[in-house]
Assembly symmetry: D2
Homo-oligomer: 151 residues x 4
Amino acid sequence: MSGTLNKVMLIGHLGDEVKIHYFEGGNCIARFPLATNETYTNRQTGEKVTNTEWHNIVVRNKAAEICEKYLSKGDKVYVEGRLKNRQWQGEDGNMRYTTEVHVQDFTFLTTKNESLQNTQMQGTAPQNEPSRPSAPEVPIDDTEEDDDLPF
Amino acid sequence: MSGTLNKVMLIGHLGDEVKIHYFEGGNCIARFPLATNETYTNRQTGEKVTNTEWHNIVVRNKAAEICEKYLSKGDKVYVEGRLKNRQWQGEDGNMRYTTEVHVQDFTFLTTKNESLQNTQMQGTAPQNEPSRPSAPEVPIDDTEEDDDLPF
Amino acid sequence: MSGTLNKVMLIGHLGDEVKIHYFEGGNCIARFPLATNETYTNRQTGEKVTNTEWHNIVVRNKAAEICEKYLSKGDKVYVEGRLKNRQWQGEDGNMRYTTEVHVQDFTFLTTKNESLQNTQMQGTAPQNEPSRPSAPEVPIDDTEEDDDLPF
Amino acid sequence: MSGTLNKVMLIGHLGDEVKIHYFEGGNCIARFPLATNETYTNRQTGEKVTNTEWHNIVVRNKAAEICEKYLSKGDKVYVEGRLKNRQWQGEDGNMRYTTEVHVQDFTFLTTKNESLQNTQMQGTAPQNEPSRPSAPEVPIDDTEEDDDLPF
DNA sequence: TTTT
DNA sequence: TTTT
């Protein structure tokens, strides 16, 4: 315990399909962009303004596979996780910086693919899913042996 | 996954010592009251008002033991968990209802017992601690075989 | 500022219609039950178990009227607020205790009444709505002159 | 209402002093870096690893002035807000991207400057402070007329 | 009393 | 690039 807290909670829509990448050891990582919207009225002009924020969502291993299987562009989802900054060297030699949301928990709020109905139940059991009183049947290997890969 | 969310996040002070109870199988449960305060100014009278809410905190197994070991009355702590309603029959034959916060994660914000400094690191690794990329060294048995006990 | 935090975040379904009550000064309060579900597999028996928790949701003034207008039994909603304990004397003379969630923010995730489409935009502007950069057009009177009424 | 949620909750330590900037109309914006830590044990090597994430915190107007007045490098604070991405053109002509946490609520968890004790009460009344039953005495102008400035 |  |  470090006495700190790093928590993000988002409800938004997928702006694109889930992209998954498998590592040699069998681990995998999934990524997708998530849009949240804010609407307000400009006080000076009186016009209604909508701002969209795009978030880089990152999911690992079993949870990644569930997302890849059941989520599609446009779906609404709740994700909970941590902010993580990542840097890498761009092709032009300059450093690039990105902030990602590394998912610890999620729940589907709509899915276009309605075939998941029953499967959906275990769909919310990501890595070390905190809201499960009993242990998940499938042990999830969370080893971050990919940590220095440019993802 | 059920498509729902049940989350509570509190920062408050312990109103009493942690009380722990061990079950036969080795499981245990710890309880303590946590106070949060709200201060506002009454618009009509202009006086400052402070309201204190008391929350029933429930922690299980390894996390319970960490709390019992390191937290004391007056300590400040962050807890995250789920709301759970519990009912039982009182001595007068009437049903009693209580709402509890079942802890999934926590972090110490102050402790009177400063001896924990180093131990503190694993102090924040409750059951299925979600913010850990690697697995906790000690597997935590979360079996709720005590679920129908009146706690 | 009191150095404490009292926050609840729920996604659930309304178990009943919104009940609204108006006070003399024009203030009002709305209440509805909200269900969250938890599903897990019993480790011993292998059977799937679903637990439902019921939460007492309380909304005030303008936000209350929006809820009453647009939410119906069965709708899914996100609510954010504070835990508040309330006690009152029952008809049998015994004290009763309830824990409520006093809403500070909310967003509709589905509504059966689809006629709200456009109105919905301001539907998420409860009292002192925090996610609005510009001020809401309608000042909301939040005076808690009803605090000792048995609601 | 947009049916989305964009929420960040952090407990961390200030990595530097609060920097405040005043605009012509009297509005102001404060910024400071906030560190959160994550500690875990590498499963392969068995060594303990600590990761620090740095977050760009942005506060506006009255809340900004309170932060500037009472927070110092090293202080621990809870902040709640929204993720906001900002881009601007760097001196080299390349676009720069940053993710910021725009604060909606906060509470001091420690302060080196203990003189605030009493003042602290209003220290937690940022813009449209959601946890206040009564209205703040000082109306806060939240107009974002500075939105296209490179902050 | 909700929902999947 | 989402959604309402």
